[in-house]
């Protein structure tokens, strides 16, 4: 039978070619975007209900875990963990995991990483694996126990040997008993010398004083106690700790005392040993002990080798087994969330899936059915629901960092516009405005480039060092920040606080030699000293020698900051239009967006226009003195006078305004802007009320009698309060946030000054005079300068600028349009589970897959 798929392919070949072509272009020039999704807004999610046969469920879940596309909801929330369907399987997996963990604890060094095996394990293979793990565990336990027994025996023999060596001196010391030593064992078979009996043994050194005291007490002083400490510490067979032991001999007379001494020995855990009294017997015993010790050492070594061999064999596979066991446990945990339909004998599951991944879900179900050989197919169907789906943004390794920055503030509401897309460019740009130094930018870019180029190698070493993980995770952000910093450093013409003269300065010297000799500082009036053609790109290098460098740059950077700020905020407000459009609320554009943007632009963009006009209108070589440099008004004073409706006191020849009709225009702008405020305040509540009234009238017309009472009295009050808060927040926020953008100026000034101080106070010391010695001084001072540059200027200032940029994005930009009431999408994914090694699978924020309570 001809496969229907061939025919199907022929029919749709043409459109696919175009899609494939575009995709291949993407793959060549850009990172692979994966399935078509955009970062513009989060993906559309679908609630699916799956009906699966229990036999087919395992394979389907395995594929879904590999794909990581579905977030399952717990359909048995009231069922105890121990009463769920697959609890035995979970328990079995936990046991296997415990055994594997114990075995890897026994391994001498960390095991090699797991091999990738895309194949799912059949139940039979899992049983075999379980048996094998059991066998290995018992084998290793047996080996360890044997080794311990051997070591205990070994320890006993060593102690006996040392005991005999030391007691030889005891017995030989007693000169009185030497005569009797030949006639040993006259009185009884046990060890005795003359009338005295003795017990020899070994006791732990810390217990010796109390041991001796106890013996003294119970024997009423009728014993003779001799001790000698063993010099080198002995190893405890069970724990491996080192113990200090002491050899002792107790001489006594009589049976009673002997029993008591034995009891005391037992109580103090002193091990008595049978020690022969005569020298000859001692030597024989020693010889026997020596051979036994040698044998035991050989056996111990062989045991150790065998153990090591077994462990090495296991070490190869243990990571792969661990991964397989963990995956299985995860699958059974998820299967426990399904509900069982008794009538149809199938499992029912509910999950959130991105619409684009539905085909993967269908394929996983089909593969499960095929693998299990079940005649009944699994099927899924969409459940239309009013619940809020989770927010899912498909990211790749480049965009993930930026998305994380935004998500840290709050997860976007479902399908609202995603600010992370623009953050890719605005974040590094605003950072660079504050950081602006070519040299430091080069250092940052080099560091990030190394991280990016060797990212595969770095990703393999999983380390707990959190600082490294943060830097490595943000490597693309740092790379972009560095590149943009090189650009702004070029514009500010600042490289380690020195300016580069690439194109030739546009300022020239207008003084003759005699004037130059007479004083030490001069004014260069741009009317005479400026050549007329501006420096092509960036700040003219002549400024680095100017005494009023800071004053000039302050004015310039402040204006720049306000311009960037108003642009950024206007962009943020305009984003709300996208949301209103998507969520089908066009009236909000008129009632909320228009008054907001008009208020912002008429007041603050007008301020920016005044700045531009001041830059263009006033000039040093203007013919009209009213347009000269001394008459250039302060833009801020004009703005304040506009807001407070004050008159400006300007003396002749300067004019009070920059252009004709400015007074009227300003008053009109002020009036219109203030008229926007009541629209913002009352627009939305009044509209809501009118909508409610219209619905009520319509319903009253349609259904006679049934009136839906909204309780609109309370509703109106609440609406007004909420809208009032938003209006005040926006209006006051416009002013305060605009001023807040001045931090762009403040941080760049601080950075430039720190950089200059470091050069002039530190590196300059090494650039003195005298050839050979000074080179060594320069060598040392350069190292110090490099250290401080890295520590203070790159790290500290970099972190500071990062923080301020983040604040600008979160507060000044996102408060204009962002809701952020969503909850994140946590799909059932093996890679996510295996990454969080120690955490339980069920440790998700809400296993029910609903919005967080």
């Amino acid at each position: 039978m001809k496969a229907p798929s061939d025919h199907h392919q022929n029919m749709v070949v043409k459109p696919k070619i175009y899609v494939r072509g575009i995709e291949s272009i993407f793959k060549v020039f850009v990172l692979d975007p994966g399935p078509v999704g955009t970062m513009f807004r989060s993906e559309e999610m679908v609630l699916c209900q799956l009906f699966v046969q229990p036999e087919a469920a395992y394979v389907s879940m395995y594929e879904l875990g590999e794909a990581g596309i579905a977030q399952f909801r717990d359909l048995n929330p009231h069922v105890n963990d121990f009463q769920r369907r697959y609890v035995t399987e979970v328990r079995r997996c936990s046991e296997m995991e415990r055994k594997l963990r114990w075995v890897s604890g026994e391994l001498p060094e960390p095991p090699p990483p797991p091999k990738l095996s895309p194949r799912v394990l059949t139940p039979r293979e899992i049983n075999i694996l379980e048996e094998r793990i059991d066998y290995i565990e018992s084998e290793i336990q047996e080996i360890t126990k044997n080794a311990q027994n051997l070591k205990t025996d070994y320890l006993a023999l060593i102690e006996l040997k040392i005991l005999i060596e030391k007691t030889q001196t005891f017995f030989q010391d007693h000169s009185a008993h030497r005569k009797i030593s030949a006639s040993v064992q006259i009185y009884n078979n046990e060890g005795a010398i003359g009338h005295l009996g003795f017990i020899a043994g070994v006791v732990a050194t810390p217990r010796v004083p109390s041991f001796e005291r106890m013996l003294w007490r119970i024997s009423h002083g009728n014993i003779f106690f001799k001790q000698a400490q063993i010099d080198e510490p002995l190893k405890d067979p069970v724990t491996g700790h080192e113990l200090q032991k002491t050899v002792f001999v107790v001489f006594f007379h009589g049976e009673q005392i002997k029993l008591r001494v034995k009891k005391v020995c037992h109580g103090f855990q002193a091990t008595p040993y049978p020690c022969p009294a005569t020298y000859k017997e001692q030597q024989e015993m020693m010889a026997g002990i020596e051979t036994r010790i040698k044998d035991l050492e050989m056996v111990l070594e062989q045991t150790e080798n065998h153990r090591r061999l077994v462990l090495t064999n296991i070490a190869r596979d243990i990571s792969t087994w661990m991964v397989a066991v963990r995956k299985e446990k995860a699958i059974y945990h998820t299967l426990n969330m399904f509900s069982m339909d008794i009538v149809k004998k199938c499992l029912i599951a509910e999950c959130w899936v991105p619409r684009q991944d539905l085909h993967i879900l269908q394929r996983a179900l089909d593969n499960g059915v095929k693998a299990s050989g079940s005649p009944i197919p699994s099927f899924l169907h969409h459940v239309p629901t009013r619940e809020t789906p989770p927010t899912f943004n498909r990211t790749n390794k480049f965009t993930r960092g930026f998305q994380t920055l935004i998500d840290s503030y709050g997860i976007a509401s479902y399908r609202e516009v995603n600010p992370a897309l623009y953050t890719i460019i605005t974040f590094p740009f605003l950072f660079a405005v504050m950081f602006g130094d070519m040299g430091h930018g080069i250092i940052m870019t080099a560091f990030a480039a190394i991280l990016v180029i060797f990212e595969k190698k770095f990703a393999k070493n999983k380390t707990d060092n959190e600082i490294w993980n943060i830097f490595f995770g943000g490597r693309y952000i740092i790379l972009l920040m560095g590149i943009f910093s090189i650009y702004t450093g070029f514009i500010y013409n600042d490289m380690f606080s020195k300016s580069l003269n690439i194109f030739g300065s546009s300022w020239k010297n207008v003084y003759d030699e005699h004037t130059l000799n007479s004083s030490s500082s001069f004014d260069l009036d741009p009317k005479d000293a400026y050549t007329g053609t501006p420096y092509p790109a960036g700040l003219d290098p002549a400024w680095q020698f100017a005494g009023n460098n800071i004053i000039f740059l302050n004015s310039f950077k402040m204006k720049l900051s306000i311009i960037f700020g108003v642009l950024h905020m206007a962009f943020g407000v305009t984003m709300s239009v996208v949301n209103f459009n998507f969520f089908k609320k066009p009236e909000m554009i008129l009632l909320q967006y228009i008054p907001q943007i008009v208020f912002l632009l008429l007041l603050f963009w007008y301020l920016c226009i005044l700045m531009f006009m001041k830059w263009f209108i006033y000039s040093a070589d203007a013919i009209d003195p009213a347009l000269g440099t001394s008459c250039a008004p302060s833009v801020l004073i004009i703005f304040i006078n506009m807001m407070l409706l004050k008159e400006s006191n300007i003396k002749e020849p300067c004019k009070p305004f920059m252009f004709d009709g400015q007074d009227t225009i300003q008053k009109v702008f002020l009036a219109v802007a203030f008229l926007c405020i009541p629209v913002m305040l009352f627009g939305k509540p009044v509209y809501e009320i009118m909508v409610v009234r219209k619905n009520k009238r319509y319903q009253q017309g349609v259904e006679s009698g049934e009136v839906v009472e909204e309780g609109h009295g309370d509703g109106f009050g609440e609406l007004m309060i909420v809208q009032g808060i938003h209006t005040i927040e926006y209006v006051l926020g416009c002013v305060s946030h605009t001023a807040s953008y001045l931090r762009l100026w403040a941080l760049s000034l601080a950075h430039a000054q720190l950089s200059a101080v470091l050069w002039q106070r530190l590196l300059k010391m090494g650039l003195g005079a005298g050839s050979p010695v000074n080179a060594i001084v320069l060598y040392v001072i350069f190292a110090a300068w490099a250290f401080f540059t890295l520590a203070i200027l790159v790290l500290m200032e970099g972190l500071s600028a990062f923080l301020h940029t983040l604040r600008l994005h979160w507060v000044e930009f996102m408060s204009k349009f962002y809701e952020g009431h969503g909850y994140a999408f946590f799909p059932f994914s093996f890679s996510a589970i295996l990454e969080n090694d120690e955490e339980d699978v069920k440790d998700k924020p809400n296993p029910n897959g609903g919005p967080p309570e």
Partner: protein, 98 residues
Amino acid sequence: MACKFCGPKLSLVGVVLSVWGIIQLTLMGVFYAIKAVALLEDLPLGGEHETLSDFISEVETGYTQNSHNCWIAALLYVITLVISAHQFWLNNRSSVSM
């Protein structure tokens, strides 16, 4: 070969610092040699000068001296780079063989 007296971190710091030092000091030497005006304030100049030509000649000797100093320091950093790289390689090798 020779014993290692730096750990892995110190040798890595040495390598990075030496590379940076070589690049920056060589460039600074070049900039001093072409008498870049930006570096004028770092020259060791005396107080008063009699004539303009005195001043100019002192500036020029200052420039050449500083450029030579920078190049000598860069050379010292080349030596440091060789030593640090050797230590780094020794450290890496011993950790791999274990």
